[in-house]
Symmetry: C2
Subunit: 329 residues, 2 copies
Amino acid sequence: MSDLPKTVRINEEGPREGFQIEKGPITTAQKISLIDSLSETGLKQIQTVSFVPAKNVPGMADADDVAKGFTRHPGVAYTALWLNARGLERALGIGRLDINGTLSLCASESFLLRNQKRTFEENLQAQHEMVAMYRDHNVPVVRAGLQAAFGCNFEGDIPLPRVLEMVGQMLDIGQQYELDLQYISLADTMAWATPLSIKRVVGAVRDKFPALDISLHLHDTRGMGIANAYAGLEMGVAIFDGAVGGLGGCPFAAHQGAAGNVCTEDLVFMCQEMGIETGIDLEKLIESALLAEQIVGHPLPGTIMKGGTLSRLREKIRARTSDVVAGNA
Amino acid sequence: MSDLPKTVRINEEGPREGFQIEKGPITTAQKISLIDSLSETGLKQIQTVSFVPAKNVPGMADADDVAKGFTRHPGVAYTALWLNARGLERALGIGRLDINGTLSLCASESFLLRNQKRTFEENLQAQHEMVAMYRDHNVPVVRAGLQAAFGCNFEGDIPLPRVLEMVGQMLDIGQQYELDLQYISLADTMAWATPLSIKRVVGAVRDKFPALDISLHLHDTRGMGIANAYAGLEMGVAIFDGAVGGLGGCPFAAHQGAAGNVCTEDLVFMCQEMGIETGIDLEKLIESALLAEQIVGHPLPGTIMKGGTLSRLREKIRARTSDVVAGNA
C-alpha cells in the first residue's frame, strides 16, 4: 500500500525563508532568538541566513550579525544560502557555519530569466563555475536542487522529461567533477504540486536514478503542503525542508496568500502520529513556532501550534483515567 | 499505486457547520446570501441549517427563516440537521427542504455522554426510536454516520474493532427495518486522523463491508484535512463533506485553533488538479468563500481563496504566449 520511511530528516528553513519575506522590522536579536530556540528541538539542520545583497533582500542585511550571534548546539548543522562567490565568501568568513555546496538548476526558463537573469544554457554553464568556486574554497558539493520542478507561475506545467533531463545534467556534473552528491532536492517553488504529481515526478526520478536519495522542498500556498509531503513519504522520500510556523516564501515568486514552506511542526506531527521517527521534540518545536509568530507580529499558518498535539491530549486523558482508577475523581 | 475515483461528490456543510460556531452576529440575510451563492457553484448538496434549540446553539435561532429564505436551485439538495423529533418536525414544517434520515452512532462514549448525555447502549436504542420517528413521518433513512471514528479529545484513540462493530450495528438496524442505506459516513469529529489511520480504518471498513460506500467528514484542526482527504481518495472514497472557506467546527468538541471542516474549495482544487471530476466551478466557489469570509468578518483558513487557482494562472500564461506568437507583446 505504501513505502513509508522509518525515519525522516527535516531541514529547518524558517529563519532564512521566513525573515527574507517579512516586512519587519525584525531585530537581529529576535532572529538569533529563533535560531537558538530551534537548536533545542532536536532539529539536525537549520538554515540560518542568506548572504545576498541587502538591496535585493533587505531582511537579510544583518545576515553576518545573525550568523555570528546564535549559539551553536552540538549535533546541529547551521547552514546558509548564497548565490555567488561574494555570498560564499561572506559565509566562509563567518567561520562558524556548516558550509556545503549545492548544484542548482531551475525547470522553468521563464522563472530563471526573471529570478536570476539567465537562460537554461547560461544557468547550466554557471554550475560548472560554481563547482570551480567550491573547489577553490575547499567546499564539498553534497546536494543538487531543482527549482520549479512541479510548475511555474510564469511558465505553467513543467514537462516530466525536462525534470528528468535536468536531474541527469546535475548528476553528470557530479560525475565529471567527482562530487559526493548525497541527494537531489525537488522544489515545488511556486506551489504547483499535488499529491498525484508528487508521486508521478518522484516516481519517475526514482525509477530513472534508483541510487539517488530524493528530498522535497514544498510550499503551502495552495494548501497542498502536508498532502504533498504525505505523497512523498508514500514514495519513500525521507528528507524534507520545512519552516517553523509555516514562515516564509520566495520574494520573487509572485506568490499570493500564505506563501510559506510546509510547516515543520505540522509535518513532524504527521510523521510522529504515523510512527515515523523525526528525532524532534514536537512540544519544543511548537514553542519555537509560537516565538516565531510573536517575532513576526502576525498569525502564522501553522495549525498544530493552535490545535495542539495528540500526545499532550493522550497524557491528559491517561492522567484523568489514573485519577478515576485511584478513586481521586 | 492508488485507487483514485473518477468523480467525487462533495456535500457542502459550511452554512450549518460555520454559522453554528461563529460568535456573530450574522444576519439571516447574510446566511441566505451564502446559501444562494453556493447554489450557483455546481454543488449538488448544501446543508443549510440545524434545527436545534436556540439556547444550545444561538447561531441557529433563525434556522426557520434561513430555510424559508434561500432560493432553491434545480439539481441541488438542501439538507438540514436535527437531533430529535422536535427538530425533524421543524425541518418538515419548512416544506421546501430535502429531508432524509440518518442513523448516527459515536465511537467515543466519553464524547457521547458529554454531547448527548447517552451511553453507547442508550444511543444504540435511540437509533431504533429514530427509525420509528422517520417511519412515522415517511422520511427515508439513507445514510449512517459514525462520529469520532478516528479518535476523541476526551477518550483518546479509538480501537478499530469498535469502529467495525458500530458500522455493523448500523447495518443491522438497516437490515432489520429494510432501510435503503446508501453510504456510511466516517467522521473525524475531533481531528485525530492522519493519512495512515484514514487508510487503516477505511480499508478495514471496506474489507469487512465491501458493498458499502464510504464518505469522510474531516476536520482540519491539526492541519491534516487535505492530506486525510487524499488518503481517502487513494482508498477509493468518493463522497466528502466540506465547508466553504474552512468554516466551522463543532461547538462541543473542545477544539482549539482552526476547528473547521476540510475546506471545500481546497478539496475541489486538489481533485480537479488530479483529474477527478467534481462538477463544481472552482472560481465561483472561491467567490462564495470570499463572501463567507466577509460575512464572518475574520480570515478563514481556506488557502486557494488566497493563493489562487492554477487554471486561472494557466489561462494568463496561455494568453501571454498567444500575444507573443501574434507579435503583440
